[in-house]
């Protein structure tokens, strides 16, 4: 099979078509954010008190889906992974940024995408959050010389979990599926312990929950199946770790002067 994906990188579509196709991609993204109730700042805030662990469960599900799609399509030979821009790692800056980001999320109740999605449904707190975001990122950019050195420090290239743990890529993928499923069930258990539901559920509620359980169970079963297939197949067939990915921002080893 010829590798036709990513379409714009293999020349199957033009740059301007690619730009236009960002619109349906964004449409689905925004539609799903609303349907996930990510446009409600309270739901995002409650995640940090285990009052509603839906946020991490949605995030896990999105990561697992995209991960299986990305690596699965590479395995079957339709996606050229060497033409996908893989995010580089700047470890310490990203750890520090995550801490600040987490504080901002629990204080503000949004992250950038959810704030945009919520703002257009008329939520004033989301609009204010977006204005704050503009101020914060302009502050970062305008005073960049102050933290520019830190921003570019601890560069690790395109570093993957499987390389850091020295395990097979496929095994790492299956591991992420298992952690996502186990983590979601564990967090749901904590939620029920810390915030017990008062009163008995009605028969209709029980029926809805049962249907939800079946649907989610089926999706998890599919993810476990694909994850197992990826763990069994040799991943060397589609990713060559002897060469550095070509889409580096900075070469991992600086040229000798």
């Amino acid at each position: 099979m010829d590798m036709i994906f990513p379409l714009v990188k293999t020349g199957a579509i033009s740059d301007s078509t690619n730009l236009w196709l960002a619109l349906p991609t964004g449409l689905l993204f925004g539609f799903a954010l609303f349907k996930a109730r990510f446009t409600d700042s309270r739901r995002i805030g409650w995640a940090f008190y285990f009052k509603d662990v839906g946020v991490p469960v949605v995030m896990f599900s999105a990561i697992v889906t995209a991960m299986l799609g990305l690596w699965g399509l590479s395995l079957v030979g339709v996606l050229d992974i060497s033409k996908v821009y893989l995010l580089p790692t700047y470890l310490w800056p990203m750890v520090v940024a995550g801490l600040i980001f987490g504080v901002g999320m629990v204080v503000g109740g949004y992250c950038p995408g959810t704030a945009l999605a919520s703002m257009v449904t008329g939520k004033i707190d989301a609009l204010v959050f977006v204005l704050g975001f503009f101020i914060g990122s302009l502050f970062f950019g305008d005073l960049f010389p102050v933290w520019g050195d830190f921003y570019n420090s601890d560069y690790r290239g395109v570093a993957r979990l499987d390389q850091a743990l020295e395990i097979d890529l496929g095994v790492a993928i299956l591991g992420v599926v298992l952690i996502a499923v186990g983590g979601s069930l564990g967090m749901r258990w904590v939620q029920k312990k810390v915030w017990p539901e008062d009163g008995r559920a009605s028969d209709e509620e029980i029926r809805t929950r049962l249907a939800t359980l079946k649907l989610q169970g089926a999706l998890i079963a599919v993810a476990l199946l694909i994850g197992t297939v990826l763990a069994v197949f040799s991943t060397e067939s589609f990713i060559d770790d002897r060469v550095e990915p070509p889409y580096y921002i900075v070469p991992k080893v600086a040229a000798q002067p």
Binding site: L21, A22, L23, G26, L27, L28, F29, G30, L33, F34, A36, T39, S41, R42, W46, F48, K51, V58, S61, T65, A66, M67, G69, K83, L87, L91, P93, V96, G104, M105, V106, V107, G109, Y110, P112, G113, T114, A115, L116, G122, D125, F129, G132, F133, F134, G136, S137, L138, F140, G141, D142, W147, G148, R160, D162, Q163, I173, S184, T212, L219
Partner: protein, 170 residues
């Protein structure tokens, strides 16, 4: 608030994951939200202070070789995102002008917290080279070491601060 028209977490996450796969197979890159917002902010600043913005160490790349900061994949994606969320809210009766807040929170303090949170997230998203979608979700799917560290840090940072702002939410 009605929740009947919303999706359970796993199928909702799968839908977001499919949007991410679309970006991977069409554009060879991930989705993201924060990049478009920073570009928009830089564009507004540029209309006020064109020279200083173009010569700034960080924002100059948005204007390099006569480029327009808003002519970018991330901007089209963000427009789609807003249209998608608006459409979903329209069909499910979610459109309403209001301030979302916890039962004990007062509106003025909620809005001040919202602004402070936005400033912190705006700064941190630039330091991390992406936000929850562009860095955590996309990098998470790519098994990026930095993205997974970023994501764990978000929850650690959030949990550390949660006690101090609990009156806002619970």
């Amino acid at each position: 608030m009605k929740t009947g028209s919303r999706w359970p977490p796993v199928p909702a996450g799968v839908a977001i994951g499919i949007a991410m796969i679309m970006a991977f197979v069409i554009a060879g890159r991930g989705i993201g939200a924060s990049g478009s917002m920073t570009r928009f902010a830089a564009w507004v600043q540029h209309s006020l202070f064109p020279v200083a913005t173009e010569q700034g160490t960080y924002f100059s790349r948005y204007f390099a070789e006569g480029a327009h900061p808003l002519f970018d994949y991330s901007i089209v994606l963000a427009i789609g995102l807003m249209m998608g969320s608006f459409a979903a809210a329209l069909f499910s009766g979610g459109l309403s002008v209001e301030v979302l807040q916890g039962p004990r929170s007062r509106t003025p303090s909620r809005l001040v917290y919202s602004l402070i949170g936005g400033i912190l997230v705006g700064f941190a998203a630039r330091l991390a080279r992406g936000c929850t979608s562009g860095q955590a979700l996309v990098g998470g799917a790519e098994l990026s070491l930095g993205a997974w560290s970023f994501m764990m840090s978000i929850f650690v940072g959030g949990w550390m601060a949660a006690w101090f702002v609990r009156k806002q939410w619970i």
